[in-house]
Amino acid sequence: MSTPNDAPTWQAEIDALQAELAAAIAAADDAATLRQLEVDALGKKGSVTALMKRVGTLPPEERRAYGAVAGAARGAVQQALTARAEALATARLQAELDDRSFDETLLGQPDRRGAVHPIALVQRDIEDVFASMGFQVLDYPEVDSEFSNFEALNIPGWHPARDMQDTFWLHGGHLLRTHTSAGQVRTMHKLGGEPFRAIFPGRVFRYESTDASHEHTFHQVEGLMIDRAPAAGGPGVSVGHLLDAMRTLLSAIFGEAVKVRLRPGYFPFVEPGFELDIGCRNCGGSGCSVCKQSGWLELLPCGLVHPNVLRMGGLDPAQWQGWAFGLGLSRLVMMRYGIGDIRLMLSGDARFCEPFAAGS
């Protein structure tokens, strides 16, 4: 029992607790400690909360005074906590702003980079160029008949041209196509009857030993354009048309104006047949070691479609004319990416493709 004259004993108690808490708050130097102090003081079972609960045990006349003092103490503690929390946050921010230990020079390493094969990259570009000019992109079997690969192309059995393309023969009579030209007559039967233009890229095979510039398996793109002859009311297809088409298409593929020239070249399925040279892109035509001082690089065979091939394709040469070319895709890939050994292309060596991670 206390009397009204007694100095309130709780006053000192409250003061002591408040001082103790103030010291502890001031000493707290991280958010977790501060949070713990808050719980210990103001939580359900906290020391300050306990003070507040004591008000009910006091005589009624003291309750008001007690309430005011305890409330003030709680407010002070609350305020100290908030102030300290803000101070700590400010310090933390400043510390981070002042920190110079971060090493920005360390470059991140991807887990593992993927890559697209360079043949696929160049093939994609070529398909896009031709498609944009109205060429359909077609695909044909790699195992084909002797007919598709030879007879249909005006290369009968006795023909010396069969020497030029040593062939992998399969048991059972078929062969591995030696050129994408094997698709020419297929395409005429598929699209003939209307003017058309098409390319057919793909793998071809030659029965020949390999070295840095020869592979038994490589890639070509065949191009074929057929239109009505003047006799059938069409524009016809001339050497002049072929020249223009090749110049336009090759300029698009190389991304710059390309000079082209035609030399006589013999391929039984075209007449006249040509070797097409492009101006050497290394020296600009003035002559260098790449072009053997000639200023020209042999790029592809082409020509006007031979009437016998049109006939094999079910087209009447009096009504239809055309041109065709066979582009060495592998060779173009080697030119574009500076590949010195064709055998790397199908080696399956991941190190060869890795530089193509980001695409072309």
């Binding site: 790699e142 029965y207 048309h241 088409a245 004319q321």
Partner: protein, 925 residues
């Protein structure tokens, strides 16, 4: 083939034409030049010297001292090492200061203590040939001692080295006359061919005559023979020998050199027999009898077949026709009488024998091009003239006997009827650019006879272009074009009006797959051979088998380059596995070949399946119209247009038709990780389960990314023993990989199945498997590998027509709960997930709210009836309101109900009612 500009200039006036500058025009109009050789530069200062004294070298046994007379230029003594040095011989003397074409620099210095101001030279020293055998003896050179060699001998020349391949179709260009004709036409100057006037006698060359056997008549349309007497065999004059050398032919003796010179001049190979060894005074051209043998000039005994053509005398074969003479009748030193053969043979037959025997010669290279049958008579006459020069006193001792079908009844010359309009149209030239007169004249200069009737031209092809070279108007287009100059033809626009063509769906799909695999999944694309690598296949046991355990067939090569590549691949994964092994062996650019190195590869390519021949719509590699698919009328019309020769070829192709093998398009993925380093000898450590799981996770994540990237639902991974019903009902296309390839791990693999959905029915896409442990053990690098092979066309079929839409962010939050369900050891977590999903999806309200069921974690205990615990997360959401707790409870009950009732055909209940109770899934109904 080499062409001598000096020789050409003997037939065409080339005054004022620089052969090097002219070569550009030649390349554009005639044939490809691979190189130009100049003979003369570097030989200035070299003089004719005569050896007038020979003395021993005091300090060296193998060296001697030669006194050389240089006429007005005095006399010098030089050191000489040539064993054939002798007094009286005339040889080239090279004074000090000369730098020869061979690279030799001659100085005035001491050779073993004796001064030697200059040297005596061999052919090789002068860069005239590779011949180091002794000094170049100047036989038949009349120039005075001291004369400059270049003045004394006609050797200054420019040689074009022509690419033989660019002459394949031009038999007329295999001799200098043919080349001279082209050059004369280009220069518009006359061509003067050498004289072929010969005084033949009337005697028969062989008493018993020359016969072409009936069965050889087609193979030998013409055979000429003549006899020459008074022959004295010896070396040809030095100028002749050097000309042969320059053109790449080895000088042998004047008689043989004469045959070779005429071949180089006319293009027609000749053969000379020693008349003494033509037994029975007769020659028969016939097919070989089976097993017949001949010893050819290269001293090899060759066994012949009945398709080979031989030249036989009364006792047997003396030459392999058109390819090589026989050793027994060759010209010898004492030969006095020579029988000359000048013939024409069928090109294809010569090529066949030459290829079969692997025996190629200057002769076969020419005959196989199908030479002009008029040529041998001219060549025989030229031989008579050349022989008289090289062997003075040699004279014809017979008539020029000429037998065969060609001299009896020459085939008419081809006549081409066309129009100037057509010829110009094909070139893209107007009448202004190529006027009538110029057009006609160009053809005439090349030997064509032109008969103009208005615009129509009737062009007769000369014999030397008539073979298989020029026969149709388009061939004349080429003649005109190349002589007009292709570089002068104006270009004409054709592509301007083009409408872009859409890229086909399979190309678009492949591009998408590349992006996903390379850029998304971090895999490196490779493109590998279509041939399997036999040693790897054997070592790793990669053969595919059918259900009965029989090995599946592969397409085998009839001719192989090596024993490593003998058959085409059925699938792609085998090759990828080999590539993984190699890459793990040598490491990548970023990482050395150590334990922990991981390599991921993919390939888009095709397999080759010999056994798959679709019943209908089979591709025979022949036009459908030819097979009669469009009816007999269409077929007959097609054949009629082909003409008899092509139609015969086409019909033969139909007779022998066979369907082409199926070429399934595939995507394969392989990811491998090294489990041991090089340092530990590559010994594999125990394979951690985490590694297998992590590889499986990576490979199947790529699969998930592929399906997701194509707008398809996530694929299901199912082994046959786990979900037979799904596998039995899912569509399987013809492009699926083999069901039992050698790499398949029986317990660690799955079929990849696309569940049914908006894209269509459930579909098998392919296989995913860890590497079979036997193959793993046989790898040259310790590694664990996961392999995937997918039927690209199944992906194509499923993804066609898929329309992708942007996501709609939901308005309200989802409610989700996790369930940890212990199941039997052999239950698949995703099968359980599927079961839970369908249990909820089937319920009315819940089904509408079901958003997702996912596998969160799995845990496998060592023992117990249900050692495998799968934690699933079920997510419910409604667009209208928040999902209520009671609805989540209902969902749990529905799941419990479904699991306890799980009695699918192949799956006994994995969860018992008691277990469901214990899990608090609610009571089963």
């Amino acid at each position: 083939m080499f062409v001598s500009w000096r020789w050409i200039s003997e037939m065409v006036d080339t005054t004022g034409v620089d052969p090097v500058a002219f070569s550009d025009r030649f390349v554009l109009a005639v044939a490809e030049i691979e190189g130009i050789v100049q003979i003369g530069p570097g030989l200035e200062g070299v003089r004719v010297g005569e050896v007038v004294g020979v003395a021993p070298h005091p300090n060296a046994d193998k060296l001697r001292l030669a006194d050389v007379d240089l006429g007005a230029h005095g006399r010098v003594r030089v050191v000489c090492g040539a064993p054939d040095l002798r007094v009286g011989m005339r040889v080239p003397f090279v004074p000090p200061g000369c730098k020869l074409p061979s690279g030799i620099e001659v100085r005035d210095g001491d050779v073993r203590g004796e001064r030697s101001p200059g040297m005596l030279a061999s052919e090789a020293d002068l860069g005239l040939s590779e011949d180091h055998d002794g000094l170049l003896e100047l036989h038949g050179c009349d120039a005075a001692n001291g004369t400059e060699l270049l003045d004394a001998l006609p050797i200054r020349d420019t040689l074009y080295e022509i690419d033989n391949k660019s002459l394949t179709h031009r038999p007329d260009l295999w001799g200098h006359i043919g080349i001279a004709r082209e050059i004369a036409a280009l220069l518009d100057r006359p061509l003067c061919t050498p004289s072929a006037e010969v005084a033949w006698t009337t005697a028969p060359p062989l008493a018993a005559g020359v016969t072409i056997a009936a069965d050889a008549a087609e193979v030998c349309p013409r055979y000429l023979a003549a006899r020459f007497s008074g022959v004295r065999v010896g070396p040809s004059p030095v100028a002749t020998r050097l000309r042969l050398r320059a053109l790449g032919v080895r000088p042998i003796s004047n008689v043989v050199d004469a045959t070779n010179l005429v071949m180089l001049e006319t293009g027609n190979p000749l053969h000379a027999f020693d008349a003494r060894f033509v037994r029975g005074e007769t020659i028969t051209v016939r097919l070989a009898t089976p097993g017949e043998t001949i010893r050819t000039l290269d001293d090899v005994v060759r066994t012949l077949e009945p398709t080979d053509l031989v030249i036989a005398d009364g006792a047997g074969p003396v030459a392999l026709a058109g390819i090589m003479g026989g050793g027994d009748s060759e010209i010898r030193e004492e030969t006095e009488s020579v029988v000359l053969e000048a013939a024409n043979f069928d090109g294809a037959r010569i090529r066949k024998t030459s290829a079969r025997l692997g025996l190629r010669s200057e002769s076969s290279a020419r005959f196989e091009k199908s030479l002009d049958p008029d040529l041998p008579a001219f060549a025989a006459a030229r031989f008579a003239r050349v022989l008289a020069e090289l062997s003075p006193g040699a004279v014809p001792a017979s008539a020029l006997l000429d037998v065969g079908s060609h001299p009896a009844a020459p085939a008419p010359l081809p006549v081409i009827t066309t129009s100037r309009g057509y010829l110009r149209q094909r070139l893209g030239l107007s009448a202004e650019l190529l006027p009538d007169a110029a057009l006609d004249r160009t053809l005439q200069r090349l030997g064509f006879t032109v008969d103009a009737q208005g615009d129509v031209l009737v062009v007769t092809v000369p014999r030397f272009r008539a073979g298989r070279d020029v026969g149709i108007a388009d061939d004349l287009v080429e003649e005109l074009g190349r002589h007009y100059g292709y570089d002068r033809i104006p270009s004409a626009t054709v592509l301007a009006e083009a409408k872009p063509a859409p890229l086909p769906a399979d190309k678009q799909l492949e591009r998408r797959l590349r992006e996903i695999c390379a850029l998304g999944a971090g895999l490196t694309e490779v493109q590998l051979y279509s041939f399997e690598h036999e040693p790897t296949r054997e070592r790793l046991g990669l053969q595919s088998h059918d259900a009965a355990g029989r090995e599946l067939p592969r397409l085998r090569l009839r001719n192989t380059l090596s024993s490593e590549h003998v058959a085409l691949r059925r699938g792609l994964a085998e090759g990828l596995l080999g590539a993984i092994e190699r890459n793990l062996g040598h490491g990548t650019a970023a990482a050395p070949p150590q334990k922990g190195l991981r390599v991921g590869l993919f390939e888009l390519g095709r397999g080759y399946l010999p056994e798959q021949q679709p019943a209908e719509g089979a591709d025979y590699g022949l036009p459908a119209v030819l097979l009669g698919d469009a009816g007999d009328d269409a077929r007959d019309g097609y054949l009629a247009r082909l003409g008899p020769a092509l139609a015969a070829d086409a019909e033969a192709a139909v007779q022998g038709r066979k369907p082409l093998p199926h070429e399934p398009r595939r995507l394969a993925i392989a990811i491998g990780e090294r489990t041991g380093g090089a340092a530990d000898g590559g010994v594999a450590e125990a394979l951690p389960a985490e590694l297998t799981a992590s590889l499986w996770q990576e490979a199947t994540a790529a699969l998930a990314a592929i399906c997701d990237g194509l707008g398809l639902p996530a694929p299901l991974l199912r082994r046959a023993d786990r979900d037979a019903v799904l596998l039995a009902t899912a569509e399987a296309g013809p492009g699926l990989p083999d069901a039992a390839p050698g790499w398949l791990h029986p317990g660690r693999h799955a079929w990849i199945v696309l569940p049914a959905g908006a894209h269509g029915p459930a579909r098998r896409l392919g296989l995913c498997s860890m590497l079979h442990p036997r193959a793993r053990a046989a790898m040259e690098v310790p590694a664990e590998v996961v392999l995937v092979e997918i039927d690209r066309d199944a992906l194509l079929a499923a993804s066609e027509g898929i329309v992708r839409r942007a996501g709609r962010p939901p308005r309200l939050p989802a409610t989700s709960f996790d369930l940890s369900i212990p199941v039997r050891a052999d239950v698949g977590a995703d099968v359980l997930r599927g079961r839970v999903h369908s249990a909820l999806a089937g319920a009315a309200t819940l089904g509408a709210m079901l958003e997702d069921v996912a596998v969160v974690t799995t845990f496998r205990a060592d023992q117990g009836a249900h050692p495998y615990t799968v934690t699933l997360r079920v997510r419910l959401r409604s667009e209208e309101r928040t999902v209520r707790d009671v609805e989540a409870q209902q969902a749990r009950a529905a799941i419990a109900h479904a699991l306890v009732d799980w009695q699918d055909g192949c799956e006994p209940a994995p969860v018992t009612p008691a277990l469901a109770e214990r899990l608090g899934l609610g009571a089963s109904a």
